[in-house]
C-alpha cells in the first residue's frame, strides 16, 4: 500500500516534467519574421524584421484592410543586440525559424558581410533554408517594405521569385548560408549574391495602393549578381554575365538565349539542359583551366524569314552560330571578372585544388593574383533537338 502511494506520487511529479513546459514559447508570444534586413548606419547595425500578421493571412473576412506584414527595426552594436531591441517596438519576440529571405544592405556589403553572418550561423533557431540577397541602390529595410500582389507576404515573394528565376531564366543565384560561409572560407572560390532593386517609389510601395492597381507602381526586381572579394562587395555583373556564372557553376536548369540567323534576325533557343565540365591542370608550375560546356536546347522562337528548319544543314549552322556566340560570351565575361574584379567567383581555384592538390598548396595564398592571368579555354557543345509544335515558321510564307 505504501509502495503504491509512493508510486502514485512519483507519477504525478513526473507529469511536471514530461509536458516540456519548462522553456515553452507560446505561439502568440512569437512574432514570426519572414524577412530580415541588415543595414549599417555608422558603426551600428540596423536590423529590420518583416513580421507576418496572422489575422491578415488566414481567413478572408478581415475587418479594416491592413497590411499582411509589419516592419520593425532597431539599431544596435551587434546584430543580436539589435534583434532583441526590437522588443521595445514589437509586442512579441522575433522568431526567425521561418525566415525566407535575408537582405543585406549595399553599404554593409561593401564594408564586409562576414560580421553579420556569425549570428545567423550560431543561433539555434536559424536554419539553412532561406536565401541571402543584397539590396542594390537602396537600403535593405526598404526592400522589406514593398507590398506585392499574387503573394501576400513580400518576403515569400522574394524567396519564390529568386528560386523560380534561377530555375527558368538563370541570371539570379540562390545562395543559402551554408554555401555562403563555405565560399567565404574557401581560398579557391569567392562568393556571389543576387541583387534586389526597387523599381519605383518606396513610399507608394508600402501602401495598399501598390496592390490595388493593375500595374503596381513599385516593384521588387532581381538584377544581376554581386561579386565579392573576400567578404566585400566589389562590383555587379549584368544579367548576361550572371548567366555565364550560372552556366559555369552548373546552376542553370532552363533558360533562353537568342542567336542571329544568317539574314540578321533572331532565333530563340530554349535551353533545357546545361552541364559544364571544368578541368584544371598544371603546365610548368602554371595553372590552366579548360571549360567544356554542354547545352541541350530546342528552337523556341523564329523571327527569320528564310530559315529552312527542315534541312539538317540549317540546324548544324544554327548550332555553330550558337557555339560562337556562347564561347564569345563566356570568354568576355571571364576576362572581365579576371581583370576588372580580380576575384575568382567561378571556383577555378577549387578545381585546381581538386586536380593538383600539391600544386594548390603553393598557389592558394595568392590565388586572386594568379587568377587575373589564368589562361582559360572555353569549348561549347550546343545541340538543338526539338522544334516545338511547327517546323518552318509561317513568316517564310508571308512574302
Amino acid at each position: 500500500m505504501k509502495r503504491r502511494a509512493l508510486l502514485l506520487c512519483v507519477v504525478i511529479l513526473i507529469q511536471l516534467f514530461v509536458t516540456g513546459c519548462w522553456s515553452r514559447r507560446e505561439l502568440n508570444d512569437l512574432a514570426i519574421a519572414v524577412g530580415i534586413g541588415i543595414d549599417k548606419i555608422g558603426d551600428q547595425y540596423q536590423v529590420s524584421a518583416q513580421v507576418v500578421l496572422p489575422s491578415q493571412i488566414a481567413g478572408s473576412k478581415g475587418g479594416s484592410p491592413q497590411s499582411p506584414v509589419n516592419l520593425y527595426k532597431a539599431t544596435g552594436n551587434t546584430v543580436y543586440e539589435a534583434l532583441r531591441k526590437i522588443t521595445t517596438l514589437s509586442p512579441r519576440k522575433i522568431y526567425i525559424s521561418h525566415l525566407r529571405i535575408l537582405v543585406l544592405g549595399e553599404d554593409l556589403a561593401k564594408e564586409g558581410i562576414s560580421s553579420v553572418l556569425d549570428f545567423m550561423s550560431r543561433d539555434t533557431d536559424t536554419r539553412n533554408d532561406y536565401f541571402i540577397v543584397v539590396a542594390k541602390d537602396t537600403k535593405a529595410e526598404d526592400t522589406l517594405k514593398i507590398l506585392t500582389s499574387l503573394e501576400k507576404i513580400p518576403a515569400v515573394r522574394l524567396f519564390s521569385s529568386l528560386e523560380t528565376s534561377e530555375k527558368q531564366w538563370a541570371p539570379t543565384s540562390t545562395v543559402t548560408l551554408g554555401t555562403l560561409i563555405t565560399e567565404l572560407v574557401s581560398k579557391g572560390k569567392n562568393p556571389v549574391l543576387t541583387g534586389v532593386v526597387i523599381n519605383g517609389n518606396v513610399d507608394v510601395g508600402q501602401t495598399q495602393k501598390n496592390v490595388e492597381t493593375v500595374d503596381s507602381p513599385t516593384e521588387l526586381k532581381y538584377s544581376g549578381l554581386a561579386v565579392f572579394k573576400e567578404d566585400k562587395l566589389i562590383g555587379w555583373l549584368n544579367p548576361e554575365e550572371s548567366k555565364v556564372y550560372n552556366y559555369l557553376t552548373n546552376k542553370v536548369k532552363s533558360t533562353v538565349f537568342y542567336i542571329q540567323c544568317p539574314e540578321g534576325k533572331k532565333v530563340s533557343l530554349d535551353v533545357f539542359e546545361a552541364h559544364s565540365k571544368i578541368k584544371g591542370s598544371m603546365h610548368n608550375d602554371n595553372p590552366e583551366i579548360s571549360i567544356e560546356q554542354h547545352i541541350e536546347s530546342d528552337i523556341g522562337e523564329v523571327q527569320c524569314r528564310n530559315l529552312d528548319l527542315t534541312n539538317p544543314k540549317t540546324i548544324t549552322e544554327l548550332e555553330q552560330i550558337a557555339n560562337h556566340k556562347v564561347v564569345h560570351l563566356f570568354e568576355t565575361t571571364i576576362k572581365k571578372v579576371q581583370q576588372e574584379f580580380k576575384s575568382d567567383i567561378f571556383g577555378f581555384g577549387e578545381v585546381i585544388h581538386r586536380s593538383n592538390p600539391q600544386a594548390w598548396k603553393k598557389l592558394k595564398d595568392n590565388w586572386d593574383q594568379t587568377f587575373v592571368n589564368l589562361p582559360v579555354s572555353v569549348k561549347t557543345d550546343i545541340k538543338i533537338r526539338q522544334l516545338g509544335k511547327v517546323t518552318n515558321s509561317f513568316l517564310e510564307e508571308m512574302k
Binding site: S23, D129, G178, T182, P357, Q358
Partner: protein, 370 residues
C-alpha cells in the same frame, strides 16, 4: 547469481551495434573532420579495423576467464588488494563514461531542442528510465534493443536517403591531399570513442546463452555499428563539406534540418533526433549497468538493485559539474578522454590476457614438472 537473465546472440549483436552508434553519431564527425578534413571517412575505416581487432581480443577473454565478468576477472588475476584497486579504477571508468554520455544528452537537448531548460530536469527524466531498465536486468535491455532496432534503422535510412539530393561528390575530393598523417590523427578519436567502448560488454558476456557464438556476435555488432558511423560521417562531408562539419557542434542535426522533399517533407529533425536519443539511452544504460553490477560484485552484494537509485542521483548531480562549459568538455574530450578509453579499453584487457596466459603457461610448466 546477481543477474539471472540471459542474452541471445542476436541481442548481443544488437547491443554492440547500438553502443557503437551511441553518441558517436552525434559527436564524432566534428572531432574527426577537424584533423582529417574531407578524408575523415578513411579515418572511420581505420577505426573500424582497430575495433574489430579489439573485439577479437575481447573474445579471447572468454576463453581465458570463462563465465567471469570483467571485475571478477580482475580480482582473480590480481588478487585481493591490487584487484580491488584496479576494480575500483575500472568502475570509475564506467561511471565517468556514464556521466560523460549523460552530459552529451543534456548538451544536445539544451543546445538544439529545448533551449532554456536547465540540465537537472532533462537528466532526471532520462535517468529514471535508465534506472528502470537496469533494475529489470540485462535480458530486458537486450529485448529493448531488439525492439528499438527497426525504428533506428528506418530513421537512419530516412535521413540518409532524403538528403541525397543535397550531396555533392566534389566535397569529398581531393583524396588524401595531405597524406595519411592527418587521417591517422583523426582516427585516434574515433577509435577510442566509438570502437573501444565495447569493453563494457566484458561485464555482460557471462550472461550470453550461447557462449561459443559470442565472437561472431560481437564482430557483427561492431561491423554494423561501424558501417552506420561511416555512412553518417561520409554523408556529413558530402552534404556540408569538411569546413561546416568541423564548425558545427552537431552536424548530423544540421543535416536533418536540411531535409526537404517535394516541399512538404520538411522540418523533420526532431524525428531523426529520436534515433539518437534511443542509441544514447542504450549506451548510458549499458555503462550504468556495468558500474552497478561491477560494484555489487566487488562488494559481494546479494542484490544489485539497491545501488541503482543512489547512483542515479549522484549521476544527475555530477553531470552539470563535470565541466563548467562546453569548451572545457570539448578540450578534455579531444585531448585526454581518448587516452583514458585506450587504457581501459585496450591496455587493461591486454594485461588481463597477458596475466592469464602467463598463469596458464606457468601451471602447464608445473604440471609437466610433476
Amino acid at each position: 547469481m546477481l543477474e539471472k537473465g540471459k542474452l541471445s546472440t542476436r541481442q548481443l549483436t544488437i547491443l554492440v551495434m547500438l553502443l557503437t552508434i551511441g553518441d558517436s553519431i552525434l559527436v564524432i564527425p566534428p572531432s574527426t573532420t577537424h584533423y582529417a578534413r574531407q578524408n575523415a571517412w578513411i579515418s572511420t575505416l581505420i577505426g573500424m579495423v582497430i575495433g574489430l581487432l579489439a573485439i577479437y581480443m575481447y573474445s579471447r577473454f572468454i576463453k581465458l576467464y570463462p563465465k567471469l565478468t570483467l571485475i571478477e576477472a580482475i580480482q582473480k588475476a590480481f588478487g585481493k588488494w591490487l584487484g580491488t584497486v584496479l576494480s575500483l579504477m575500472t568502475l570509475m571508468f564506467f561511471l565517468i563514461v556514464t556521466v560523460g554520455s549523460m552530459r552529451e544528452v543534456s548538451d544536445f537537448v539544451i543546445a538544439e531542442m529545448l533551449p532554456g531548460t536547465p540540465i537537472p530536469p532533462i537528466l532526471t527524466l532520462f535517468i529514471l528510465i535508465v534506472i528502470m531498465a537496469t533494475r529489470l536486468g540485462i535480458e530486458v535491455l537486450g529485448r529493448t534493443g531488439e525492439i528499438f532496432t527497426p525504428m533506428i534503422i528506418i530513421l537512419f535510412l530516412i535521413l540518409t536517403v532524403a538528403i541525397v539530393p543535397q550531396m555533392d561528390i566534389v566535397r569529398i575530393l581531393p583524396i588524401l591531399e595531405d597524406g595519411i598523417k592527418p587521417v591517422l590523427r583523426g582516427s585516434i578519436s574515433i577509435t577510442a570513442y566509438t570502437f573501444l567502448e565495447p569493453v563494457v560488454f566484458l561485464m555482460v558476456l557471462p550472461y550470453v546463452s550461447q557462449q561459443q557464438k559470442i565472437t561472431k556476435g560481437l564482430l557483427l555488432g561492431c561491423l554494423l555499428g561501424g558501417t552506420i558511423i561511416f555512412l553518417t560521417l561520409t554523408v556529413s562531408i558530402l552534404v556540408l563539406g569538411p569546413d561546416l562539419t568541423t564548425r558545427d557542434i552537431y552536424p548530423s542535426y544540421n543535416i536533418a534540418r536540411r531535409i526537404s522533399i517535394g516541399g512538404f517533407f520538411e522540418r523533420v529533425e526532431a524525428l531523426i533526433a529520436l534515433q539518437w536519443m534511443l542509441t544514447l539511452f542504450i549506451k548510458v544504460t549499458l555503462f550504468f549497468y556495468a558500474f552497478i553490477l561491477g560494484l555489487s560484485q566487488l562488494l559481494k552484494l546479494k542484490e544489485y538493485r539497491v545501488l541503482t537509485l543512489p547512483t542515479g542521483l549522484i549521476l544527475v548531480s555530477l553531470a552539470p559539474i563535470i565541466a563548467p562549459n562546453f569548451t572545457y568538455y570539448n578540450t578534455v574530450f579531444d585531448n585526454y578522454w581518448v587516452y583514458y578509453v585506450i587504457t581501459f579499453g585496450l591496455v587493461l584487457p591486454l594485461v588481463l590476457l597477458g596475466v592469464a596466459m602467463f598463469r596458464r603457461a606457468l601451471s602447464k610448466d608445473l604440471k609437466s614438472q610433476n
